[in-house]
Structure formats: C-alpha cells, structure tokens
C-alpha cells in the first residue's frame, strides 16, 4: 500500500513541478548552476570509468576467443556493441544514480531539514518547480555525457587491444565498423533521455518528502539510490523489449 501511495505521490510531484513556474531570470541561473553541478561535474568520473571499462571489455573478449574461425575484428565489434547498447546508457546511469542521485537527495533533503523549503513555500514560491525543474532541464544534457562515455569506451577498448597486444588497430577499426546499425544509437539515446528523467526526479522525490534530521538525509540518499537503480534496470528491460525485441 505504501508503494502505491508513493507512486501516486511521485506522479503528483511531477505534475506540480511544471505548475507555477519560477521567474525566468532566476530559473536561468538555477539551470546553469545545475548543469555545472550535475553534468559538467560528472564528466571526469564518467570519462575515467568508460575508458577503463572499454579496455576491460576488449581484453575479456579477446581472451575468450580461442577458435581460429572467429575473426579477430570481433573484439572491436563486441566492444562497440557492449559499450553503445548497454554500458554507456545503462551502467553509467546506475553510477550516476550513486553520484548525481545522492547529491540531489542530500541537497534537497538538507534544505527540508533546515526549513529552507518551508521558507520558499512561505514566500509563495512553488518549491518543486524551483528545486526540481532546473535539475530536470539540466539533465536533458545527459545524452552529451553518454556520447562521451561511448566514445571513450570504444577508445579505451582500442588502446587496450592495440597496446596490450590483443589485436591490431586495423582489426579493431574494422570491428567497430562491422554491421553498424544507426538505430542502435537512437535506441541508446532514447534510453538515456528516459534515464535522465528518472535521475532527476526519483532522487528529488526522496529528498523533498523526507522527514527527520541529518541521519534521515543519509537514509533517504541510500533509498533513493536503490529505487533509482531498480527503476533504471526495469525500464531498461522494458525499453529494450519494446525497441529491439
């Protein structure tokens, strides 16, 4: 029953987020600040993880190909498919649920605990629009982060393959060009946009409606990470079934 109540409350929060918009001159600054905090601030960790995971995927694929009938370019092909279809959009989003999601929950939760949200409400400001809407808009740039993750993942695979002695550059390049289906990129970005919406709203929900003190802010961050991850995994399954199944 609590789950149903929370799901209903979540959708009401989404509806409220679009009502009574904040003055544009103020909103513009909030969006720019959130782009800096949520998008630009995540580039470093995303780039680092994508590059090295791309390398690991290439090494693992190479080490598991023993059959001489399997072409060497399969390493590049498998790395590209893994990175573009799943690793960059889905698993980077799970990592972002930890990084960006915890940040959103704890910052909004702290504002709740310290009555800053009450202060906004008393002034007649739609606090959900003021706090959540800029995060939602700024995370619409999330596909840009995922594009970088895709590029660096494939690049990491290439570096590991070539400099680790697992294959040649020519084979790898042929592999990443083989059977390329442009719709896979569209599919990845559709998922990314949906996950961006989830990343902005579920952590905000847990921060905004939290009750208690500092300890509860920590608990809310953990719960928010768990539910954001669960929803991302479920939606990943659903979207994959719908778009590729």
């Amino acid at each position: 029953m609590t789950y149903l109540h929370n799901i209903g409350k979540y959708f009401l929060m989404i509806a409220e987020m679009f009502r009574k918009p904040t003055k544009w001159s103020v909103m513009k600054q909030l969006i720019l600040k959130d782009i800096d905090d949520l998008v630009i601030g995540s580039l470093g960790i995303v780039a680092f993880i994508a590059f090295f995971v791309g390398g690991v995927v290439a090494i693992q694929t190479s080490l598991n190909i023993n059959n001489p009938l399997i072409p060497k370019y399969l390493v590049g092909f498998a790395t590209r498919q893994s990175i573009v279809l799943e690793f960059a959009p889905t698993f980077i989003s799970i990592i972002m649920a930890g990084k960006v999601g915890s940040f959103i929950t704890s910052s909004i939760g702290t504002m709740r605990v310290t009555e800053q949200i009450d202060a906004l409400e008393v002034m007649g400001i739609n606090s959900l629009n003021y706090l959540v809407f800029p995060k939602f808009i700024s995370l619409m740039l999330y596909p840009f982060v995922i594009s970088i993750a895709m590029f660096l993942g494939v690049l990491g695979g290439m570096a590991a393959c070539v400099y680790g002695g697992y294959g040649t550059l020519e084979d790898y390049v042929i592999g990443i060009q083989t059977d390329f289906i442009p719709f896979h990129i569209t599919y990845a970005f559709i998922k990314t946009i949906v996950f961006a919406f989830i990343l902005a709203t579920i952590p905000s929900f847990y921060g905004y409606y939290m009750k208690g003190g500092a300890l509860e802010v920590g608990k809310a961050s953990t719960t928010s990470f768990v539910w954001t991850s669960v929803v991302i995994i479920l939606l990943n399954f659903l979207l994959t079934s719908l778009l590729l199944g």
Binding site: K20, K23, K33, D118, V122, M123, G124
Partner: protein, 255 residues
C-alpha cells in the same frame, strides 16, 4: 489584522489544536507562548498556510485564507516575512543574495535598486559589512539578523518569527527582540512571534496568547501577565525563582 476562529488540527489520531480562537493586531508584537508540545509551532505553520487544518478559519484582513484562489494566496504570501527557528538561510547564496532573494522573485526592480534596498536593510539590522559572507561563516545572532533582513526586505504586512531567540546568548537575544519591536513599530506591521523566552514576554509582549494542550488557556499583555491568577500561566511564566521575585516586586509596587 489576523483573526483565527475555532482552529482544529490533527496528525492522524493526535489532536494537536483543539479549537483556538484569537486575533493578532496590526502594529503590535503578538507572542504565542506555551510549553513544548503545546501546539505553538503547529499553530504558527497553520497561520502561514504550511499546514492544512480540519476545522475553523484564519482570516487576513477579513479574507479567509482557505477560500483564497491560488493566485490570491501567492499574493498574500508575498506580503509575509518569516524568520525561522534555524534562520533557514539558503546555504548556496551569500548573505546579500539571501536578502535580495524576495526582491528577485517578486519585484521588477533593477539590480541597482535591489542592491540599494539590500544595503539599507542590512544596515538596519546592523550588518553593513557582511554582504559577501556565506551563511555558514556567520554566527547564530548574525544569521538571525540576516533572516530578519530577508523577512522585511520586501516591506511585508505580516512578520512571523518562530523562536527567534533560540540558541542565542541573553545579550544577543535582547538585541533581536528590540530589533523586531522597532521594525514592528516602524513599518506598522502585524508581528506574530512563537516563543518560550520569558525575557521576550516581559520585553515585547504587547499581546500574549498562552497555549496549553492545543487550547488557548489565556491571553493578555506583558502588563496583565503580572496580575493574572491563572495557575497554568503563572506556573509556566514564573517557573524560575528570579521571575517569581520580579512578579512579587511588581505586585507589591502596584498594590
């Protein structure tokens, strides 16, 4: 003027406010006092529209708050200044930005006009050199003064303060009390303070409402509170030996 009639508020099974009727007059410092758990904060949050209530009414200048349209509520809230117990300053903004915030949200003033107004109110609360400090760099007393500056910057008609003296030393508490009293007189606004600081009661309580177990037990002023024979009020207000002596002296002098 704010008029409250038969206000009831519950949280689940817990009946917190059990039918409060009172009024808060314009140009006066109105105090709500009572023990912890008496319903003071819930009452204040109902007045501010942060909590819905089940029964009764709250009227601002004759207009019943619950019957106002969303736009009318928004307009009314723009006329309210609030000082929260923990100051509730926005962590990510400097002190000047915190004070400027209501102006940015609700006025069409130019940046220089807003800056002038911020300079004026910060000077009014004796903080003329704190513009660029972050709230975390300010002491408790400074934070309270910034909160007061933010509350009055947009010329509110109503000023609400939730325990403005909590966590402050006695000297700073008196400074804050006097500041609120001066601002109330200067701007002729309706000020409602939620407090259990007895110094505030004696210093600035032009109207005092005493709550007990969610009911209005007594109301009067800082003058009549000395003479009251209401046992609940005397037990609460004169719980310390010092205040008992002060009351005894007052009654002897005025008998």
């Amino acid at each position: 003027m704010i008029e409250v009639k038969n206000l009831h508020k519950s949280f689940g099974e817990a009946h917190i406010l059990k039918g409060i009727t009172t009024s808060f007059e314009k140009g006066k410092t109105n105090l709500i006092i009572g023990q912890s758990g008496s319903g003071k904060t819930v009452f204040l949050k109902c007045l501010l529209g942060l909590f819905d209530y089940e029964e009764g009414s709250i009227a601002y200048e004759g207009k019943i708050f619950s019957k106002l349209s969303p736009d009318e509520k928004r307009n009314l809230r723009a006329e309210i200044g609030m000082v929260f117990q923990g100051s509730a300053l926005f962590d990510s903004m400097t002190i000047a930005e915190n004070v400027m915030f209501p102006l940015r949200m609700f006025t069409k003033q130019s940046k220089s006009e807003m800056q002038d107004r911020v300079d004026f109110v910060l000077k009014r609360v004796n903080l003329d050199d704190a513009h660029n400090k972050m709230p975390s760099e300010a002491s408790g007393g400074m934070q309270k003064r910034v909160a007061i500056a933010r509350a009055i910057v947009n010329n509110p008609k109503y000023l609400f303060c939730d325990e403005p003296n909590s966590g402050l030393d006695p000297k700073t508490a008196i400074v804050i009390d006097n500041l609120i009293q001066e601002i109330t007189d200067e701007y002729n606004i309706t000020t409602v303070i939620n407090s259990h600081d007895m110094n505030s009661v004696m210093e600035i309580g032009e109207k005092i409402v005493f709550l007990k177990n969610g009911l209005k037990e007594w109301e009067g002023s800082k003058d009549t509170i000395f003479k009251t024979d209401n046992e609940a009020v005397t037990n609460f207000v004169y719980s310390s030996e010092l205040f008992k002596k002060v009351r005894k002296m007052y009654l002897e002098e005025n008998s």
